[in-house]
Symmetry: none
Subunit: 245 residues, 2 copies
């Protein structure tokens, strides 16, 4: 199960944190490390801090953008140090690990960690199905990046070891959930169609696409649903084009 | 309760680990740091890695021997990387934290962390009422000292917060959820628009509306979202009608 979990570090500043994160992961049996635009990598400090986990660094996938790092994922969780006003579920690490255990029986799961100073951007948070918050002390919340990776990796491992745990019986249809890149193509289609319908003004988009992303990220679309929605968009585009096929 | 818990680092080699441990403690609300014969302390690297937790370092109690560090303690637990053949209870971090919570209602509790390379000596282990073991991967158990402090401090904090901690209710947007009759009017509008777009054939509706209902019922639409979706439907109807308002 832990093989289906990837740790995605976004735009990390300090190479030492990358190395320490790799070590933290390996102690807990995690192996999939993705680095999105690391500031300074590869780097000797990363290798030094990785200690005996340098094989994870050697196999780390360095990505130019978040899309590549999330391709093929079924469930995306963002680590958030702040309690944000965003309408996605906010989980404690233990609950996050429990849900990850369920999700990764059926597909890939990504845990996103943002920049040391500023965390994840709003655009990156909009890619998340849930946020996970390590409940730090109110007086001092300055948890080091690699320490946060360690705590979440530890909870993932504990969920993995928990022999008593049973996944609840599946309810409803068994159509597989759409992967994040399929859903991204739906968003691109949606934006294009709304522009053609003149419902979205690219010069003044306001919060429209963000609100729609939040809505559909909550729903966890399956593949049939993505196909239905894209069919509706195509029908609307065709109507706007005057009935041409 | 957390004020009654002391973290005791025995004979630590790397001052960076002392600083990182102080930072780990402070993020989790722990404040009592004891250092037994640190190899190289005080040290600039310790201060640097402590980041904003340098006040914990300033107040740290440096001891010549373990006896001084344990004076006044009621319950002593040693962190053990290896599964030792020693006749004291071996606890998982969560159980250790649960017991610590009980113990420290009545007195002081100490968590002992040994040397980076060799852990605690047999003599030091003999001072412990229990051992706590972080269940690392069998293939790679090289957990960094400060990471071990972070994981145990995290579990102590979770035991402390236990049922009291709730994500603040103000998380998320405050737009009220749509009531069922508003959502029903949206479904009626959706069915009408899909019929006009010739995406839905009333003579052969198959399961389309049922599938769309399932999708939007999962999402729990709020009022803004209902308005946005109905706006999109109106734009599509207008497009089909040839641009008439």
């Amino acid at each position: 199960m832990l093989d289906n979990i990837r740790i995605v570090l976004v735009n990390t500043s300090h190479p030492g944190n990358i190395g320490a994160s790799a070590r933290a992961m390996k102690t807990m049996g995690l192996a999939q490390l993705y680095l999105v635009q690391p500031r300074d990598y590869p780097n000797a400090e990363a290798t030094a801090r990785a200690s005996g986990a340098d094989d994870l660094l050697a196999r780390a996938v360095v990505c130019d953008d978040l899309d590549s790092a999330l391709a093929g994922c079924r469930w995306v969780v963002g680590a958030s140090a702040r309690l944000r006003t965003i309408a996605v579920p906010l989980l404690l690490p233990r609950d996050c690990a429990g849900q990850a255990r369920q999700e990764c029986e059926q597909g890939e799961v990504a845990l996103l960690f943002g920049r040391e100073q500023s965390g994840l951007s709003n655009e990156e948070l909009d890619r998340c199905h849930a946020l996970v918050h390590i409940p730090t002390d109110a007086a001092y919340g300055s948890l080091n990046l690699a320490m946060a990776v360690q705590v979440l990796a530890y909870e993932l491992r504990m969920a993995h070891l928990d022999d008593d745990w049973q996944p609840p019986p599946e309810i409803g249809e068994h159509t597989p959930l759409a992967e994040v890149d399929e859903v991204e193509r739906f968003y691109a289609h949606l934006e294009q169609a709304l522009t053609e319908l003149e419902f979205l003004d690219p010069a003044n988009p306001r919060q429209l696409m963000r609100r729609l992303r939040r809505l559909f990220n909550r729903v966890r679309l399956d593949r049939n649903e993505v196909n239905i929605l894209r069919g509706i968009l195509s029908a609307a585009q065709q109507a706007k084009g005057g009935g041409r096929p």
